[in-house]
């Protein structure tokens, strides 16, 4: 008997993924295509990033994908000198939050940006990033 195929695409997200199966596994396909995507509820129009499979506003699971595009403003960031187990090879790196108005995005600031170039309030864009270990994430670059 054929083994049931498990859709565990989400294990590709980030340096180390702690999740493998999610109803928003298509997020990984968008990353593969160079796109960062959130979801919008087709019933009530609520916009979600990170993407959700379910809308708590109207209890619908009827979602469509939208691409995170344009620029967001840098709200907060920190540069880590120590990392959790499994992230030692990435150090140092910056985590940050961008405000796109309708939604916010949490992620990393692109490694090539120097400390003095990073300013709260600056405009940044979110781009897909392939990690040395073959995993995928996204980073913020200067707009």
């Amino acid at each position: 008997m054929a083994k049931k195929e498990v859709d565990d695409r989400f294990k590709k997200f980030g340096t180390v993924s702690f999740t493998s199966i999610s109803k928003v596994n298509d997020f990984i396909d968008y990353l593969e295509k160079g796109k960062v995507a959130g979801t919008r509820c087709k019933e009530c129009g609520s916009v979600f990033f990170p993407p959700r499979a379910d809308c708590y506003q109207c209890l619908s699971s009827n979602m469509e994908w939208f691409e995170v595009s344009g620029t967001g403003k840098l709200l907060a960031y920190s540069k880590l000198q120590y990392g959790p187990v499994g992230f030692e090879g990435d150090l140092p790196y910056c985590i940050a939050v961008l405000d796109y108005g309708d939604y916010k995005v949490f992620g990393r600031i692109a490694g090539e940006l120097k400390d003095e170039e990073i300013k709260i309030g600056m405009d940044m864009k979110t781009v897909v990033n392939k990690l040395p270990n073959g995993q995928l994430n996204y980073v913020f670059q200067r707009a």
């Binding site: 180390v16 990170p50 000198q81 990393r108």
Partner: protein, 389 residues
């Protein structure tokens, strides 16, 4: 419906690498609490055990502790809300008593963080955040709070020196608290001395000196109905107000990066229930897992206006002799932060203060005290107001 009082408090010393198992660690806080309350285990109707479970190999520690502490066959159960687990336990004890279901409830908090390595511990703590969407970027607690520090500094002009002053204050009291894990002085100069570990960057802008110390420890409280409290104790401390709130775990769903909404909301609820204002608070314990967390607590609890927390610490108003003494037991920064035990230890400090039994740390004649205990990065907030009358 009568009041609810605290009739017994205890805690273990907070230490690095406790030389015993978790049940033995729990016994330390329990023993001090039972000696304090001078009642028998037969008088306790139920127990609540609180910790962050990911540190333990033991599943469901409540049953194990009940046996070791002689609390069977009374009901026992387990609860957690990360670093505020034992404040949540206290709230549940209050509710059980108010409902009339039980009269006397014990709240036991514990954590043996040294069961795992420091790096593993950081990773476990990081997993108290959003593991699907944030942990894959390599997040840790100091880095999350560092984002808040950066935003606070940008908006209000708070400086690294202002933050360091909070640690200097904590060490002042850590040195005189025999239960504290970190008993050495910390000076402002250490933060700018590259030879000092305190100046070592962890997650910018926070340095080692801005971060609390991991520790092993346990805490224990006995909570009772007014009738039982008066029967068992000649010095009960009353729960005047309890507030609790939650916030989105994902940073992308947060609106505020210069304060913790849960601290503000839980505080407002507790003040309203107690019928008091921030000006009425004589002594406070706030959740200073990082220096910035204490700074935000000043503002979220109304001890200072938003952005003016730095003036409180610069003018030493939060020292023992100041207008609003905060964390005069060394706080999480110097006393240490054994996750599940922390809230109970904070409550113990305020109970001792209100009884006038805080020794060298005693604030002059306090009548109303406040405990602010946060779980995760402002994920869970608990504020408890206690009074002598």
């Amino acid at each position: 419906m009568g009041k609810v009082g605290i009739i017994g408090v205890g805690q273990s010393a907070f230490v690095r690498g406790y030389g015993g198992s978790i049940r033995e660690l729990a016994f330390e806080g329990f023993k001090e609490c039972m000696k304090d309350a001078q009642i028998s285990v037969k008088d306790i109707d139920a127990s609540i055990v609180c910790s962050a479970p990911e540190y333990d190999k033991q599943r469901s520690p409540a049953g194990v502790f009940a046996e070791y502490l002689g609390l069977t066959p009374q009901p026992t159960f387990y609860t957690e809300s990360l670093c505020s687990s034992s404040s949540t336990g206290l709230k549940l004890a209050y509710s059980l008593i108010k409902s009339g279901l039980h009269d006397v409830v014990m709240v036991i908090g514990f954590q043996k963080m040294s069961e795992i390595s420091s790096a593993e511990s950081q990773e476990r703590m990081g997993r108290g955040a959003d593991i699907q969407w944030e942990s894959p970027f390599g997040t840790m607690m100091p880095a999350y709070y560092a984002m808040y520090a950066r935003a606070h500094m940008e908006k209000y002009g708070t400086t690294l020196e202002d933050l360091a002053l909070i640690r200097v204050k904590a060490s002042t009291y850590g040195q005189i608290n025999e239960k504290a894990v970190y008993r050495k002085p910390v000076t402002l100069e250490m933060f700018s001395d590259p030879q000092s570990p305190m100046s070592n960057p962890v997650a910018s802008p926070l340095r080692v000196g801005d971060c609390c110390a991991n520790a092993d420890g346990s805490s224990c409280l006995i909570v009772a109905s007014e009738e039982k409290a008066r029967a068992f104790s000649n010095k009960p401390v009353w729960i005047l107000g309890i507030g609790a709130a939650s916030a989105p775990v994902n940073m992308a769903a947060r609106d505020l990066f210069t304060g913790l909404s849960v601290g503000e909301q839980a505080g407002r609820q507790a003040y309203e229930m107690a019928g008091v204002t921030p000006k009425d608070i004589d002594v406070a314990e706030v959740h200073d897992c990082f220096t910035i967390a204490e700074m935000m607590a000043y503002e979220n609890l109304g001890f200072a206006k938003p952005g003016e927390g730095k003036d409180l610490i610069k003018s030493k108003e939060t020292y023992k002799e100041g207008s609003i003494p905060v964390n005069v037991d060394g706080g999480l920064l110097s006393k240490g932060h054994p996750i599940g035990a922390t809230g109970g230890s904070q409550i113990r400090t305020i109970v001792l203060q209100l009884r006038g039994e805080a020794g060298e740390m005693q604030v002059k004649d306090p009548e109303i005290g406040l405990v602010h205990n946060i779980g995760g990065v402002g994920l869970y907030g608990n504020v408890t107001i206690l009074g002598r009358a």
